[in-house]
């Protein structure tokens, strides 16, 4: 698989605080990568590092195969656009002036794409209104337009829907999906609004305490989170033999628990297990959401 961004044992310390601790992540090309973690988990720190705002303490990262120690990293950053925390826009300029300024920074020969970009983000009718008079959603969309000015292949968005109203959230979601589907832009979105992410992401990375806990594709996550029957048995090996014989899809959770992804006849299952000297202790319906998956993954108890 081709990766746009890879990090290898990345560390960032602020004095004695480990903001990132041996973080390894892989953002596949063409994906919408949901970077999930609670506040202070290290999401923004990672984004600051890959954007060149801060230096790594140890470890490395690669953007389009170019490592951060290679001076050519500056060239691969030209293929990137990012909105880090708040939109980076001049408040005393209009939307058009902001885009023209970014075009100058990029050294674009003309301002031909400015109107198209404003239309893409729905700000074509803002006229002479300065950005300081924009709503939060409009500023966020202008920030994305500025990030798109260099026609990037990789877009990094840090908490893009934070503080937005429902309408604003829908607009940003539709914009991100449009960019990914129509322009094939790889998107890295950090967020802790899991419901919103689940509508967008094709891949997930779960971070906690500066460490990557798990990376999983949306398809795999769907498999894990889909409806199932969770059973507790006395002998998991005997249970596996029975499941294989009955040709039922299942997954083992631990040495006493397993999930069955099929409609089952509990009586038949009980008899089949009994034949293998295995007791069926409990049966319950199990339906995991992204939220509960995340809480289970990072150990919800310790954050209570």
């Amino acid at each position: 698989m081709e990766y746009v961004l890879e990090t290898n044992s990345l560390c960032k310390y602020y004095k004695n605080f480990k903001a990132l601790n041996n973080l390894s992540m892989h953002v596949p090309k063409g994906s919408i990568y949901g970077f999930v973690g609670r506040n202070g988990a290290g999401k923004t720190t990672l984004i600051r590092l890959i954007c060149g705002l801060q230096k790594t303490t140890s470890g490395s990262f690669e953007i389009y195969g170019i490592t951060n120690e290679n001076p050519d990293i500056l060239k691969s950053r030209r293929r990137m656009g990012a909105v880090v925390e708040t939109p980076s826009i001049y408040m005393n300029m209009t939307a058009e002036e902001n885009l023209k300024e970014q075009f100058r920074i990029l050294g674009m020969p003309s301002f031909d794409g400015v109107k198209d970009l404003l239309k893409l983000v729905g700000l074509e009718n803002t006229g002479k209104k300065n950005a300081k008079n924009f709503s939060l959603g409009m500023r966020q969309r202008l920030g994305i337009a500025v990030a798109l000015a260099g026609d990037p292949d990789f877009l990094v968005l840090d908490e893009p829907v934070n503080g937005l109203d429902p309408q604003g959230i829908v607009e940003i979601r539709e914009l991100i999906l449009k960019l990914n589907r129509e322009r094939q832009i790889t998107v890295l979105i950090s967020s802790h609004i899991l419901d919103e992410l689940s509508r967008l992401a094709t891949h997930y990375g779960f971070i906690d305490g500066g460490h990557m806990v798990k990376e999983i594709s949306a398809v795999e996550l769907e498999q894990v989170c889909r409806k199932c029957m969770r059973v507790t048995v006395s002998d998991i090996t005997a249970f596996s033999r029975v499941m294989d014989r009955l040709n039922l899809e299942y997954s083992v959770v631990d040495d006493r628990t397993a999930d069955i992804f099929a409609q089952i006849n509990v009586s038949e299952l009980t008899f089949a297990l009994r034949d293998q000297n295995c007791e069926l202790i409990t049966v319950s319906e199990h339906d995991e959401s992204l939220e509960s998956y995340f809480i289970n993954l990072i150990g919800g108890g310790k954050h209570e």
Binding site: K55, I73, L74, K75, S76, S88, I89, Y90, R104, I105
Partner: protein
């Protein structure tokens, strides 16, 4: 770096602090010239008796630069730190511009902005000012020499302001820090100048027995190493240079310009080193 300079210039002409700085520079000239003109014509006889050159531009040609000394930090602090307060410095880094280029582009554009204000001020002084008030003692070569020296002094001053602004990052913080620093430097310059130019002996004590004026040694007169240290501090500070300029003193302009060059190189090198190491948010 050309891209950054072009983008910064486009932003400069829309920057409110720069526009106010330019209005202040030009307005200051106009106010000074008209006040001098009106004041002289109101009390012509009096001024002709005490100072025959009072009505000319000689004494006020460069004095406005002392006021601009306090306007430059406000303009530079606002221009540079807008990048931090609006977060737009990130746009430059994310698309792959080097930190050294970002620093130098800011320095170049702020310097150009500062010099535009100085030149506007001097241009009005030497066109409208001379047309209305005339000039008697300053020669063309002295004017050119002092103008060049003024530009160099303000380049070094801008370099200090850019360094502070790039490192402090807060718009209000940078402006306040540089303004306070400028005030301190200015009063230190005046104080040092008074100390260094004080005479070694006073001749104001009249002895009625001998019918002669006695000379008394000035107890605060500086000598030896202490005088050298005070003189060096005075020579190095950009505020001293502006003060000398305001007094239209051409005596040490070469030496002062040399110190300005050193300040420019040292502050820029230090600023770049520290800015490259700085974690940005």
């Amino acid at each position: 770096m050309n891209k950054l300079i072009s983008a910064n210039f486009a932003r400069l002409f829309k920057n409110g602090a720069f526009i106010l700085y330019m209005i202040f520079s030009g307005g200051l000239s106009l106010v000074m010239i008209f006040m001098r003109y009106v004041e002289y014509h109101k009390h012509m006889e009096y001024y002709n008796n005490i100072d025959p050159t009072y009505h000319t531009m000689d004494s006020i040609a460069f004095i406005g630069l002392l006021y601009l000394l306090f306007a430059v930090p406000v303009f530079v602090g606002n221009f540079v730190c807008t990048e931090y307060s609006d977060g737009t410095i990130r746009n430059k880094l994310i698309v792959g511009h080097k930190r050294i280029d970002i620093y130098l582009a800011n320095l170049i554009v702020c310097t150009a902005g500062t010099l535009m204000g100085i030149l506007l001020h001097l241009l009005i002084n030497f066109t409208l000012g001379i047309a209305l008030c005339g000039i008697e003692e300053l020669t063309v070569s002295e004017i050119l020499k002092l103008t060049l020296f003024g530009l160099i002094a303000f380049i070094s001053l801008t370099a200090i302001m850019v360094m502070v602004s790039m490192l402090v990052k807060s718009k209000a913080g940078a402006s306040v820090t540089t303004l306070i620093a400028t005030f301190i430097m200015f009063f230190v310059a005046i104080s040092l100048n008074n100390t260094l130019t004080a005479p070694e002996y006073y001749e104001n004590s009249f002895n009625p027995e001998t019918m002669e004026t006695e000379t008394i040694k000035n107890p605060n007169y500086l000598t030896g190493t202490k005088r050298k240290v005070y003189q060096t501090i005075y020579d190095v500070m950009p505020s001293s240079h502006t003060y000398e300029l305001a007094m239209t003193s051409t005596e040490n302009v070469g030496k002062f310009a040399g110190y300005d060059g050193i300040i420019l190189v040292v502050t820029t090198a230090l600023g770049i080193i520290l800015f490259r190491k700085k974690d940005l948010k």
